[in-house]
Assembly symmetry: C2
DNA sequence: TTAATATACGGAGGCGGCCTCCGATTGGCT
DNA sequence: AGCCAATCGGAGGCCGCCTCCGTATATTAA
């Protein structure tokens, strides 16, 4: 039913070169990198890029879906970790690192979580589902406030990741995340 | 020494109409609003806009400086508040609301704090100076962790403000800020 | 091998935004 | 009134987005 005709050889070649160059370009210039530039570097016309990826989001989604799925998988593994809170923090830290790879990616994923019509919504959403299991487990273990939702935590993570990207040095995100989890009030 | 020739009447009129329309446009479309559109709505040529405000930042700075100074002033007042931590939180909340007025403004101010060459650096910096006095006072009163810096707090605030802007409802920022100050661990 | 055809390619062209430059205009002063 | 410096306005060059359609080619059938 869902089987697709194999692509013509030239089409598949172009498709892959485009993805490759897109990855380079996004890593170098952020998610707003010029699509014409990507096509140029891939050695194809701009029309070809748009045929394979009708929107910028479609291109990004293709690049990111595998990554998102990997994070969902990692969350599943961490459900077996002996320390629920540590597991949660570790997962969030990994996610934070990932959203830091392309400038502007955090904005994108944060928005995708609230916009069902987004192409990225589905994979983001699936990731959140598994993530919230980690959250629930930490709550049940009495290691996390009962009144915090997975949404809020994910948003806080995105916020920390965003902030990390607006800091001169490295590792800002990790430090902020730690601060948030440790609490700010004096003991 | 610093006295400036008074502007010609038409120049002053255009200058003010531009500021007015810029405010409208930024509020409506965020800090990336079209400059040509602003000029059009103000009834002047695009050249006139660029003569008065050579860059987008110059325009934004003119709009924001007064606001920043007001926040610095408020911080000075809050130094007399009986509850140091409450004072700090209140100041941060006000600041967070302000950076939420234009879409994209948080990014701008967060970056300005780390870029001395930014036109907004000076007024941002002055604000931070007074803000850190609030932070120090809260620490001295034993109401805030000793190892948190004013920079980190300001960044966390910006992060919360950013996140608030990427949430469907209202008041997301306030909730996140509260979470951060209360701490996430279970008591 | 060749011919037929569906598939895919590529870039010209329209649009809008950024910014500069300079001839036309006008306010303010004498 | 008349002059001139200050100011105006928008044409034009550049770039990025995206669509459309004439051209080229991989594939399949003969």
């Amino acid at each position: 039913m869902t089987d697709v005709k194999p692509m013509r050889a030239d089409a598949r070649r172009n498709y892959e070169r485009l993805l490759e160059e897109a990855k380079r370009a996004f890593a170098e210039h952020g998610v707003e990198a010029s699509l014409e530039d990507i096509a140029r570097r891939a050695g194809v016309g701009i029309g070809t890029l748009y045929r394979h990826f009708p929107t910028r989001d479609a291109l990004l989604e293709t690049l990111l879906r595998a990554r998102f799925d990997a994070h969902a998988e990692r969350a599943r593994e961490l459900l077996a970790h002996p320390e629920p809170l540590t597991a949660l923090q570790s997962w969030l830290a990994g996610l934070g690192d990932a959203t830091g790879t392309f400038r502007g990616l955090v904005e994108l994923t944060a928005d995708a979580l609230n916009d069902e019509s987004s192409r990225l919504y589905e994979s983001c959403h699936r990731m959140r589902e598994v993530g919230s299991q980690l959250v629930e487990r930490a709550k049940r273990a009495g290691q996390l406030r009962e009144d915090v939702t997975a949404e809020e935590l994910l948003l806080l993570l995105h916020a920390a990741s965003w902030a990390g990207g607006h800091l001169p040095g490295e590792g800002g995100m990790q430090r902020l995340l730690a601060l948030v989890f440790e609490g700010l009030r004096a003991s």
